[in-house]
Amino acid sequence: MSTYAAAKVVAAREIRVKLRDKTFLFSTAFFLLFSIAVTVLPAVFSGGPSSVAVADQATAARLQQADLEVRVVADDAAAEKLVRDGDVDAAVLAGPEVIALQDQPGSVVEALSTAPPVRILKPDAIDPFLAYIVPFALAFVFFFTSFLFGLQIAQSVTEEKQTRIVEILVASVPTRALLAGKVAALGLLAFVQVALIAVVTLIGARLAGLDRGVLHVLQPAIGWFVAFFLIGFVMLAALWAGVGALAARPEDLNGVSQPVQMAVMLPFFAVIFLGENDLAMRILSYVPFSAPIAMPTRIFNGDAAGWEPFLALAVMAVTAVVLLGVGARVYEGSLLRTNGKTSWATAWRSRTSG
């Protein structure tokens, strides 16, 4: 049997086991609820009666009858300022003309007997809530999914070591087939989970009535995120397997996986805390570990040129090849050392299988 065929058999088992695993089912359900909440909440928050500013007394009375929250101001300039500051949803100016910052002020227009022209002041502006929550959500989803599934690769390796079945496995198939099967299985499951979250988020956004302008920037950001996630996950997967093999028991795992945990955790906090700093984000979007969060965020904010994600993906792909090699070597070097923890150096130098 070829390494490829063996890896497929290994991957099929991993997937079957995970699909029956409660942790996996719960995390999937949790993330789906989370992504629905993120897209639906802004619509809920912006609900309630629309507020409108107006200078003309007669118009104000008519709007009040339509149950709108009306603020009477001195002149049209004051009304427009309130709209620009986000204090009111819309304003009715002389003419009459209706202005709004970004959303069509449907209820205001309906309240007026004539159908006045509507002017949207900033059609491309992003809802401040979305501008805040989207990068955070991307970071959060990447961090937790990558961490959870990575840790599961490590746990699955440690389990095989601890139960000693590993010796039978190694005697049956090439070590690389075992490694490839695990990485492929967990990578696929993580990818499916993230893709599912992406699709649900976009559908949720449509249902919640986000307007086209927002979807127009959200879609490419999420699309790129899924691609970055896949490469980003595979990049670390072999390292997770490697640390899983270094540990002899599940209790050792937390300690030996520290470096890999850092590689997932630090970029998460970096992007969260440096999100406002353009230069920092530019750098983070090319560092392979933080790129899966930073680059889609820049795309969402409209800061990234068209070629930039391709370059960042290429940098990540190269890093992934190197780290897969390192992870595989550590994995093979420590898999059969069942007496206690193995050090990185020992695993690197080790020559166990022929």
């Binding site: 049997m1 063996a6 010796e167």
Partner: protein, 294 residues
């Protein structure tokens, strides 16, 4: 025939195997005997390719072992293990598939084998729910599921109850009868003695004796006899050439000096009355082992 040829291996500056050579004949049960740390497990791991040899090689029918050839081996490692949370059926099928069986073939073989090993009714249960003895049987099934062309078993009988020992021994004999070379190690020397066709004795990393069990025994046999008569056998003391080792009324064990005929002693006994038993004393494996390893 599986042939281990001049295999040496050391870990750091500790030499574990020194120029180890022995054959495992096709169709034969070969017992691999040695004290703890003598090198049995290392030898078996090298045969399976789990460990590399520093020098020497292992061949099957003259061909050096490759991964493809080894994939048709069955192996039971010293340190047992299967997936605790998987059902017996699922994991035996899985291991069958890793050895290249199709899903259908693996399932069919698994069902047959588990029935044969008396585990048929437990097939759908998780391994961790089974008693230790039954987990051992599952382990035997895991080693046999793909109809291996060579079987290497490290302590297959440890932890088995007497019934499971018999079932397992029967399965191994079956495989041997089908022409498969079977090598197994055990500390239960009486069991090895009863089951094996051939023996390999290892001590401190080198082979001390290897070959046919009976030939080995007769090679180590002393000119020693036992006799059972109806009356007291004390007269043996005065029989020329006889050194009495043990006398218990009607039973006696004695050595005969070179140049004396055992049949003369038998005649002398018959002159004195009925003889219930007379014959050479063959050394037990335990005795040979002690002598060879010393």
């Amino acid at each position: 025939m599986l042939n281990v040829d001049s295999v040496s291996r050391s870990f750091g500056d500790r030499t574990v195997l020194k120029d180890v050579s022995f054959p495992v004949g096709s169709g034969k049960l070969t017992g691999f005997v040695g004290a703890n740390g003598a090198g049995k497990t290392t030898t078996m791991r090298i045969i399976l390719g789990v460990l590399a040899a520093d020098s020497g090689e292992v061949t099957l029918d003259g061909k050096p072992l490759t991964r493809e050839i080894r994939q048709r081996f069955g192996y039971m490692p010293e340190e047992r293990g299967l997936y605790p949370k998987m059902t017996v059926q699922d994991q035996v099928v899985y291991l069958g598939r890793l050895h290249g069986l199709s899903n259908a073939a693996a399932a069919e073989r698994t069902t047959k084998l588990l029935d044969r090993l008396g585990l048929g009714e437990r097939a759908g249960e998780k391994l961790e729910k089974l008693s230790l003895g039954n987990q051992q049987r599952a382990q035997v099934a895991a080693a046999l599921v793909h109809d291996p062309e060579v079987l290497v078993l490290d302590e297959p009988f440890s932890g088995l109850d007497p019934i499971a020992v018999e079932t397992t021994a029967e399965v191994l004999r079956d495989r041997a009868a089908a022409g498969v070379p079977v090598l197994f190690s055990s500390h239960q020397l009486d069991l090895v003695e009863r089951l094996c066709d051939d023996l390999v004795i290892i001590a401190d990393g080198s082979i001390r004796a290897a070959g046919d069990r009976d030939a080995l025994r007769s090679r180590h046999a002393q000119p020693r006899y036992h006799l059972v008569v109806d009356t007291d056998a004390g007269w043996l003391r005065d029989q020329p050439g006889v050194t009495l080792l043990d006398l218990d009324g009607r039973r006696a064990v004695f050595d005969l000096d070179a140049g004396f005929d055992d049949q003369k002693v038998l005649h002398a006994a018959l002159e004195r009355g009925p003889v219930r038993a007379f014959g050479p004393v063959v050394p037990s494996l335990t005795e040979i082992f002690r002598e060879v390893v010393r």
